[in-house]
């Protein structure tokens, strides 16, 4: 999931039209005990996806063969709650590369970007019409163009511009992460320490 360059993605979508989907739903706490980043995709949305006996719950969208794709489309305020990056690992591990919503929680957004999953904020009308199109035709495709910062609902030919921090865009498009950058400023870190009162 790391260091994959992101340019253009065209894919069908998995719709999850619920608001305030918190990170405890994305990956429940009892699955946070691993010491690696692997395998979290298997437990993505665990308690919505499986019953107590571990059988698939047919009505949940991830178990519905009608829907598939690398784009998750979710209701407002996706990823609220805990800071667990395991939520981003679960989404990436399952195979999603983009999450579209009208609003994301801050920490989740950072965690997603740090794992090369692109969170795209769209307007409420765009989101509503996208849900509508997917529900009418599960083959509806969305095209995401990171260079142009556009997201296109190809069923309607409607496109929308999305915002992304230019630095993060550069990282995503080039498969770079932050640590190399931070350490390249080691002289500045030391200069700060010399100049400032240390606790």
């Amino acid at each position: 999931m790391k260091n994959e360059k992101f340019t253009i993605l065209t894919s069908t979508c998995v719709p999850l039209p619920l608001e305030n989907v918190d990170t405890d739903q994305i990956i429940p706490a009892r699955f946070l005990k691993a010491t690696t980043k692997d395998g979290f995709g298997d437990n993505l949305f665990r308690d919505w996806r499986y019953d107590k006996q571990g059988n698939q719950i047919g009505s949940f969208v991830l178990n519905d063969p009608t829907y598939s794709g690398q784009i998750l489309v979710a209701g407002k305020n996706f990823g609220s709650g805990s800071s667990r990056e395991h939520a981003a690992w679960a989404i990436a591990g399952y195979g999603f590369r983009v999450v579209i919503s009208s609003f994301f929680a801050d920490i989740f957004k950072n965690n997603a970007l740090n794992n090369f999953v692109l969170p795209i904020v769209v307007s409420e009308p765009f989101l509503a019409s996208l849900f509508n199109c997917i529900s009418k035709n599960p083959e509806t495709k969305v095209e995401v163009n990171l260079a142009d910062q556009t997201v296109i609902n190809t069923a309607l030919g409607v496109s929308e511009h999305f915002e992304i921090n230019p630095y993060k865009k550069h990282c995503l498009m080039n498969g770079l992460d932050d640590i190399d950058f931070l350490l390249s400023n080691k002289d500045k870190i030391e200069a700060w320490e010399t100049e400032n009162q240390q606790f």
């Binding site: 706490a29 005990k33 209701g75 667990r84 929680a105 950072n110 965690n111 740090n114 640590i179 606790f199």
Partner: protein, 464 residues
């Protein structure tokens, strides 16, 4: 015309990426066992070591059992995670308060009570409730594991500067209304995402007269309305709290620190991106009825009707009430409950136990209720003994467990069974948070105590 947040943020700016985030210097990194192992392995894979090990403090809290901590943790995966933190701390020479260490406890309880959290600091931890530490006038926020790795490697983090919001609560609180109720009231008004993108400063009469423990509770819950963090300008209450704490500055260093700390406030003409005003007199004891912390109301009120919810949110709202087994428009008072949990980084401090004990003193727990009473740290546990609170609780039929995060997120054995109701002093009522299928009602220690005595949702003011 700078806000307190701006002052601390700007003072920690190492450099800024053009059109991008700030490289911010971090004074304190706290690590617990759940969100750090992948950061340490990432660091090792790069052949790096922590840049400033003396600024990093580690302790297990999420997986720790609340009984028999002198024995090995039964759950093998939990044990591995706890041991991995100990090994990483040892390998890199980091301070580590392991299980049964006199300073062990929930990281957000331990930091302030040991004077590790100080005014003017930047503080991060791979935990969203890091906002707690803002109560002492620091800029503290939760981060992901990749960001923990960044801080380990460089003692810095790349972060976009959030917007600022001031929430002023004037007036005064009625009897039976606590900091927890103030927080749940604010979150209910703001909604669960209402402060996303903002860093909040709390101000006003109610905040000024709040104890340090109350302030920690309030700032702790900032994340539950989406805020990046919450903070309170330090004052005499802060300084009195800090004086003499183990890691707080001493003697001449204390005087130097005080001179600096007294400058830590927003300028009179500071401009916030958003200003919100509440009246403390409007707040009554609160309780949540749904599956996010924004779904709260005064304990004597009725659950909102479906018609009062915006149309786009009704599917989520119905799903939430269905999960809770409640009907729109009904009262919660008198509803049966099964479990009570007193503890967590939200309400696991001495004042919370004092409040709980004040209500149950000389009375008996309802025999149908299972109560988990979990101090936030060994230090809090010792305070309970010193003040005789342990005896009051035991006489009332409660057992005191060993410190840890416990039933707040049920990573250990303290799980609420499916379908059961728990009045919980913790911070999240998400589906399954306290165990698969568990139904959580967030409330103050007083509301929890009243529920423990009656086995029902009860207005604590009727038990005082």
């Amino acid at each position: 015309m700078n806000t307190l947040f701006d002052k601390i943020w700007d003072a920690h700016l190492v450099t800024k990426v053009e059109n991008g985030p700030t490289q911010l210097y971090i004074d304190r990194l706290y690590c617990h066992e759940v969100t750090s192992p992948q950061a340490f392995s990432g660091l090792k894979a790069r052949g790096l070591k922590p840049l400033r090990p003396e600024k990093i403090f580690c302790m297990p809290d999420h997986n720790t059992p609340t009984h028999d901590q002198d024995k090995e943790i039964e759950d093998e995966i939990s044990r591995t995670q706890v041991n991995t933190l100990a090994q990483n701390a040892k390998e890199f020479g980091l301070t580590h308060f392991g299980m049964l260490h006199p300073k062990n406890g929930i990281i957000h309880v331990v930091g302030p009570e040991n004077g590790l959290t100080l005014p003017g600091m930047t503080i991060v931890c791979g935990d969203s409730h890091t906002s707690t530490h803002g109560a002492l006038g620091s800029v503290a926020f939760g981060i992901g594991t990749s960001e923990v790795e960044m801080v380990l490697a460089s003692q810095c983090i790349l972060q976009s500067k959030p917007k600022t919001m001031r929430i002023t609560v004037n007036g005064r609180l009625d009897k039976g209304v606590t900091a927890k109720d103030v927080a749940l009231y604010i979150i209910a008004k703001m909604t669960t995402g209402g402060a996303t993108g903002y860093f909040v400063e709390y101000a006003g009469d109610v905040i000024r007269s709040m104890s340090m423990e109350g302030r920690l509770t309030l700032c702790n819950l900032s994340i539950e309305m989406g805020a990046r963090g919450g903070m309170i300008a330090p004052d005499e209450i802060t300084f009195d709290y800090l004086k003499g704490r183990e890691f707080a500055p001493k003697e001449s260093e204390w005087d130097t620190a005080m001179a600096f700390w007294k400058t830590l406030k927003s300028d009179d003409d500071a401009l916030f991106d958003k200003e919100i005003l509440f009246n403390g007199n409007d707040i009554q004891p609160m309780i949540t009825y749904g599956t996010n912390p924004g779904m709260g109301m005064g304990i004597t009120e009725k659950i909102p009707t479906l018609e009062s919810i915006p149309e786009v949110g009704r599917i989520s709202y119905s799903k939430s009430l269905e999960y809770m087994g409640y009907q729109p428009g009904e009262l919660l008072i008198g509803k049966k409950i099964d479990y009570v949990f007193l503890g967590s980084c939200t309400n696991g401090r001495i004042e919370d136990f004092r409040a709980f004990a004040s209500l149950v003193k000389g009375k008996k727990k309802d025999p149908s209720v299972i109560a988990w009473i979990v101090p936030g740290s060994w230090h809090v546990n010792n305070q309970l003994k010193e003040e005789g609170i342990d005896k009051i609780l035991i006489e009332a039929g409660f057992a005191i467990r060993q410190p840890g995060c416990s039933a707040c997120l049920a990573m250990n054995d303290d799980k609420v069974p499916a379908g059961k109701y728990a009045v919980s002093t913790s911070n999240r009522n998400f589906e399954g948070r306290q165990g698969p299928g568990a139904r959580t009602l967030l409330a103050s220690p007083l509301v929890a105590a009243a529920a423990a005595l009656t086995g029902k949702i009860t207005d604590p003011r009727t038990c005082m």
